[in-house]
């Protein structure tokens, strides 16, 4: 049975490191890795379906056409996932991937709040706002 009290910290001769609770940082690191592995797995599933159906089509990326709306908006991606399209599932995995660092920043707000560091709560919220503006405000959410 684990001890009721937290294990004694190693005494440090210097002033404590920024971000005193390294546990939060380790949790965040693992969160990032999990997010990446989940999105890689989703992309891989999409890749199998895509390759199974289109393996022998010609590959041509010489001319930029821009993706159709089903691959560049949330609703479009969800619809193409529902209809079982490989490219849609790949795109869903990529959306997870982009969301992973955003989630990390969101959790960092909590971490700094626990430390009662108002200055860095404000900084982190600003970064989060920029990320959300880019992610949601760029037209993906249409």
């Amino acid at each position: 049975m684990p001890a009721a009290e937290a294990p004694a910290r190693q005494s440090q001769p210097f002033k404590p490191q920024p971000w005193r609770d390294r546990r939060i940082e380790v949790i965040l690191g693992n969160l990032l890795r999990t997010g990446v592995l989940v999105s890689a797995a989703v992309v891989l599933v999409g890749a199998c379906i895509y390759l199974y159906r289109h393996a022998h089509d010609p590959a041509d990326y010489r001319v930029f056409r821009g993706e159709p709306s089903e691959y560049r908006t949330f609703s479009g991606v969800i619809q193409s996932v529902i209809s079982g399209r490989g490219q849609g599932i790949i795109q869903l995995g990529l959306l997870f991937l982009i969301a992973t660092p955003i989630a990390r920043v969101a959790f960092s707000v909590v971490g700094f709040a626990i430390e009662r560091d108002r200055q860095y709560v404000a900084f982190t919220l600003l970064v989060l706002a920029i990320l959300l503006y880019s992610f949601l405000g760029s037209g993906i959410g249409v």
Binding site: L28, G88, I140
Partner: protein
């Protein structure tokens, strides 16, 4: 080429780029865009979209390992991310408006600069710099594990570093790369952050910076699933393998080879840009 052949070949190339990028610390994204555009004749906008996605994957995938080592400084990272994310938004905005030949020329210049930085000897941060008032106010100074216990460091020239990071973010958003070379300039040279601290801190900043422009790229239709899939999976697998064998590998000669590759690709990009081939 059929889609199957294309996917397999691009995945292998991306794997090698991710492996070399991780072993040399120069990042894989910087060679991917020129390789895709020059050898696979991919439109540079699709190449940038795919590369950006792979940059998020490698940065986030390596974060867990770096955190455990105890070098990264989350306050430096978060503070500078204000600059890099703003820059990335600007870069992504510009990328949709400037001609592709100009993109190729800027890319070529960044490659040449990266090759130069990778050959230059690193300046060792002096041990006992006096604390800078602004850095102290922002609580940027820190310490990291050293042979003789923990070593403290004092961050210098915050405004210069912050401005350079804005530029690094803009290049990242414009070209879909991690822009490690500019980060080295900002964090090592200007701010005098110790090497290990700046590399590990900039690693997790790269993912957040790329995420700031990825939304714009995706919504503009630059992220093609068929192309991004082999690039992302290949680079991720290569860089994860690279971070495992990093300890044993002889990286000095690898760095030399890789920086020559970067140099050649940079010249090729400039040539293609100036002659309107991209």
């Amino acid at each position: 080429m059929t889609i199957l052949e294309f996917t397999v070949v691009v995945a292998i190339v991306s794997f090698v780029a991710g492996l070399l990028g991780s072993l040399t610390g120069l990042g894989g994204g910087v060679v991917l865009v020129p390789l895709l555009t020059i050898f696979f004749h991919v439109d540079i906008r699709y190449a940038i979209g795919a590369s950006l996605v792979s940059v998020i994957a490698t940065s986030s995938g390596a974060a867990a390992a770096y955190v455990k080592e105890g070098f990264s400084n989350i306050r430096i990272g978060m503070f500078l991310e204000i600059a890099t994310t703003f820059g990335a938004l600007l870069g992504a905005f510009l990328a949709t408006r400037i001609p592709t030949s100009a993109l190729a020329i800027i890319f070529g210049a960044v490659l040449l600069y990266s090759a130069y930085v990778s050959r230059k000897a690193r300046t060792l941060a002096e041990r006992s710099l006096p604390p800078d008032p602004l850095a102290t106010r922002l609580r940027l100074n820190g310490s990291f594990p050293d042979l003789e216990g923990r070593r403290t460091y004092n961050v210098q020239r915050v405004p210069t570093g912050f401005s350079l990071m804005f530029g690094a973010g803009a290049l990242s958003g414009l070209l879909g790369i991690g822009s490690g070379a500019v980060k080295v300039l900002a964090m090592d040279q200007a701010m005098r952050i110790p090497f290990k601290v700046s590399t590990t801190t900039s690693n997790f900043m790269i993912g957040v910076t790329a995420a700031a422009s990825a939304g714009v790229y995706l919504s503009r239709g630059y992220v093609d699933p068929g192309l991004s899939m082999p690039v992302m999976l290949g680079v991720l697998a290569g860089s994860l393998l690279g971070s495992r064998i990093l300890v044993k590998a002889e990286t000095k000669s690898l760095r030399l080879v890789f920086s020559v590759v970067i140099l050649v690709l940079g010249l090729q990009m400039l040539y293609n840009g100036f002659w309107g081939k991209i």
